[in-house]
């Protein structure tokens, strides 16, 4: 909208900072590899493509998480929604695998949304409980070991395939991004997300169907999480215990690094994309530098805190 162009700079500040940080990470990593190995591994197209492919799974989860964060809620059922979708899909196999996985995501989202919107339970508690139920169910189903079933061909294509040299996962993430970005900026539903996130009372009294907006948001988040699960199972050729564990908090971190308000109501989708890139490249550079897992976690946490402090100075 033209009338928002005047504030382009201030609202996009986190996007610029996050993007600049991605460049900084790559620069530091490249200097390291040049000194240590004499090659600029990080800047080779194949390495970048591989990182973006891995990042796509997080990107798809973060897109869903952002929708829920915009309305001032959070979805902590992500890890096991992702795992459950992947496990059910590989277990059933065949042409119905993907449909079943996505349906599972939608149903979990529906349950989350109804719990938050109609039963008025705090999303943080409710989704955490749903996560526990899903985890228990899957452990019961698989006996606690990784299932032997394999991902279907289509899942393998989505997660590990390439199309004209570009990873299909990256294309899926791009498509998801275009859709989510369009919904957020161009549709009444997207605008409602920001309104509900700013003030639920004002939204309700403005005739916005609050509860429906909340339910639909959680369903979208569940769907996208399940999609990421299917892709990840395709990438690894199978589903495994704990495959979603590394997705909930990094997704939240990516959304917040991208400048969205964790309490809802503001944030741009571009920022979330930049946030995902920060998380992905930070992880890969730290692993290239052969830091121990402990140090990596410390640096990772420190970077997130620093970026949040940088954003705070604006407000």
């Amino acid at each position: 909208m033209r009338i928002t162009v005047a504030k382009w700079n201030s609202a996009d500040r986190p996007v610029y900072i996050a993007s600049a940080f991605v460049v900084l990470i790559l620069a530091v990593g490249t200097i390291y590899t040049l000194v240590a190995q004499g090659t600029a591994t990080l800047l080779s197209p194949s390495y970048l493509m591989q990182q973006l492919q891995i990042g796509s799974f997080l990107g798809v989860v973060a897109a869903g998480m952002m929708i829920v964060i915009l309305i001032g809620h959070i979805d902590l059922s992500v890890p096991w929604t992702l795992t459950t979708a992947a496990m059910l899909a590989t277990a059933v196999g065949g042409p119905w695998a993907i449909l079943l996985g996505l349906s599972l995501g939608a149903v979990v989202g529906l349950v989350n949304g109804v719990g938050v919107a109609y039963l008025r339970l705090p999303s943080m508690i409710f989704t955490l409980a749903v996560n526990a139920v899903l985890q228990g169910s899957m452990v019961a189903m698989t006996g606690g070991t990784s299932p032997q079933s394999q991902a279907t061909e289509l899942m393998r294509f989505l997660g590990a395939g390439t199309l004209m040299g570009i990873p299909v996962a990256l294309l899926v993430w791009t498509l998801v991004s275009v859709c989510v970005s369009t919904v957020l900026t161009r549709t009444p539903f997207g605008r409602s997300l920001y309104i509900v996130g700013n003030s639920e009372a004002a939204a309700y009294l403005s005739g916005i169907p609050n509860k429906r907006v909340i339910v639909v948001s959680f369903i979208l988040c569940g769907l996208l999480t399940a999609l990421a699960g299917l892709m990840l199972a395709g990438y690894s050729a199978k589903a495994y215990q704990g495959m979603g564990d590394l997705y909930a908090l990094p997704a939240i971190a990516a959304v917040v690094i991208g400048g969205a308000n964790i309490l809802g109501g503001s944030g741009k989708y571009r920022g979330t994309v930049a946030g995902v890139l920060v998380v992905v490249f930070l992880n890969s550079v730290l692993s290239i530098m052969q830091m121990s897992e402990a140090i990596r976690q410390i640096v990772y946490g420190f970077v997130i805190l620093t970026m949040l402090l940088v954003y705070r100075r604006k407000a």
């Binding site: 909208m1 033209r2 009338i3 928002t4 162009v5 005047a6 504030k7 369009t182 161009r186 549709t187 009444p188 605008r191 409602s192 920001y194 309104i195 700013n198 003030s199 009372a201 004002a202 939204a203 309700y204 009294l205 403005s206 005739g207 916005i208 169907p209 109501g265 503001s266």
Partner: protein, 516 residues
């Protein structure tokens, strides 16, 4: 006058404050004396709030000199100001709704015993302060969130007195008070004046100022226009000083009383254990119907019931001779005869403060600015521009966040966003609370114009003047019931007050007899 020879308690000389390019206070001189109530007058944005903030340490001044008891001061925090005896009650209520009254009152410095908060002493302190302002009926143990807005404001005043002020600053402190509490409050202020406190007082209610203030200072556009003792200028002159132009009539002229067929028909409406009891009234197209009475007698609930917010309402609501059957604001907005409601609290219920003015203005009409499934930039822009033009909203840019606007302009945004749906019925809950005279008049004229164009307007107001000046008919509520319907000749302040107290006309008449 002799009093001018004494050293003033608080003295400002050439005080200037700028926010970016805007000069909020321009070279202001002001003297406040002990034992006097000093009123600050001016439209919103005239600089009164900034002056208060500078004096009480919320924002630093850019230049100039402020002395208290002849010693120069520059408070860096409100707490430092409090310790020097300067205490401010701000327009925005500062109470924590989930804490008890007693906890709120001593929130800054709770009484301690062995290093822990002494809850008994805390309750005793609250009791004594509440008794001092005539509010002994408020239980210090009750949660603030359970009290009505008026009672909360009294708690706020008790909290200020707990800091033992020498200079008490009140910014719109009576805006939410009911008639009964205002009288209590005036007694308290007179008592404090007798104890030689100096009081700096901001209010938009001219009547209060005439009753209360010993001295008045008028501000306009950040500058001090004049200071004078009460009675030196009449109301019309003061209003002229405030707005810099002459205002002929405060209220638009009412059409001659006529009977119009009812459009909105409410009968036997009840809700929630007597909050609303068997209410019946009608409103026709082109009428402005007022809801009167003390604050908290069910007026808010009645408006919410009509807007579909309340669940479990019994009785019938008919609109245009058809059962309304509205169960949510969304249904009210999209009904055959569209209903709009301007809520009580514009900051939390009316606006998304952090969002842009443009986003706020289209928030009720998202489906109307669409082309296909997508929002049309062109339609959205037209809607926003139309709203800004129609209500003459003063803004820098439509992309500015709503919180940057003055109170009056914020309220205009709330009204404008609802006019965008072209409502047949407009419900307003105290729409002019805490906004400046100029904007109030614009709102009165707007309401009359909407009624003349065929809309049905139902308005609650805590300001009796406004009900008399603005409404064709007033339904006075008491304890969830309508106790009187006043119109034409019978619509007088005396009648409103006596019915609001549920005394009936008999008392009003006998009082009149006594006074003659």
């Amino acid at each position: 006058m002799a009093i001018e020879n004494r050293v003033p308690h608080l003295c400002l000389q050439g005080v200037t404050k700028r926010y970016g390019g805007i000069t909020a206070l321009n070279n202001v001189d002001l003297a406040v004396h002990k034992g006097r109530i000093h009123a600050l007058l001016g439209e919103n944005g005239a600089g009164k709030s900034t002056l208060i903030k500078v004096v009480s340490g919320v924002v630093p001044r850019d230049s100039g000199r402020i002395t208290l008891n002849d010693r120069e001061i520059a408070f860096s925090t409100p707490r430092a100001a409090n310790e020097a005896g300067v205490v401010c009650v701000f327009q925005e209520l500062s109470l924590m709704p989930h804490l008890s009254v007693a906890e709120n009152i001593s929130i800054a410095r709770p009484p301690r015993r062995y290093g822990l908060i002494d809850t008994k002493a805390q309750i005793r302190l609250a009791e004594s302060l509440l008794a001092r302002i005539g509010c002994a009926d408020i239980d210090p143990r009750s949660r603030v969130g359970e009290l009505s807005l008026s009672r909360r404001q009294m708690v706020e005043i008790a909290k200020a007195l707990g800091k033992e002020p020498e200079l008490l600053i009140l910014d719109e402190a009576t805006s939410a008070l009911t008639h009964r509490d205002v009288e209590l409050f005036f007694e308290v202020l007179h008592g404090l004046r007798a104890q030689n406190l100096s009081i700096l007082y901001v209010s938009h209610r001219m009547h209060e100022i005439e009753i209360l203030a010993d001295r008045l200072s008028v501000f306009r556009n950040g500058s001090h226009v004049a200071s004078f003792d009460r009675g030196e200028h009449d109301e019309a002159e003061i209003v002229e000083m405030m707005i810099g132009r002459e205002i002929t009539t405060q209220y638009p002229t009412k059409p001659a009383p006529k009977t119009v067929p009812p459009f909105l028909e409410v009968s036997g409406l009840s809700w929630g254990n007597g909050a609303l009891r068997d209410l019946s009234f009608t409103a026709g197209k082109g009428e402005i119907v007022g809801l009167g009475g003390l604050d908290g007698q069910g007026q808010t609930q009645l408006l919410l019931a009509l807007f579909g917010v309340l669940k479990g309402v019994t009785g019938s609501v008919r609109i245009g001779a058809q059962a309304a059957g509205i169960n949510s604001p969304q249904e009210a907005k999209n009904a055959r005869d569209r209903i709009a409601m301007i809520p009580e609290d514009r900051k939390t219920e009316g606006l998304m403060l952090a969002m842009s003015v443009a986003d706020n203005l289209i928030s009720t009409s998202l489906d109307r600015v669409c082309r296909g499934p997508f929002i049309s930039e062109e339609k959205a822009r037209d809607t926003v521009n139309e709203a800004i033009r129609r209500l003459r909203i003063k803004i820098g840019d439509p992309s500015d966040p709503a919180w940057t606007l003055s109170g009056g302009n914020q309220q205009k945004v709330v009204i404008a966003k609802w006019l965008m749906i072209e409502p047949e019925i407009i419900l307003l809950n105290d729409p002019t609370r805490g906004i400046d005279v100029g904007t109030k008049q614009e709102i009165y004229q707007l309401l009359r114009a909407l009624a003349d164009a065929g809309a049905t307007v139902v308005m609650y107001s805590s300001d009796y003047d406004e009900l008399i000046g603005c409404c064709d008919r007033v339904e006075v509520m008491y304890d969830g019931r309508i106790v009187a319907t006043l119109s034409g000749e019978s619509l007088t302040e005396q009648a409103l007050v006596s019915h609001a107290l549920n005394l009936g006309n008999g008392v009003a008449r006998s009082k009149e007899m006594e006074s003659t």
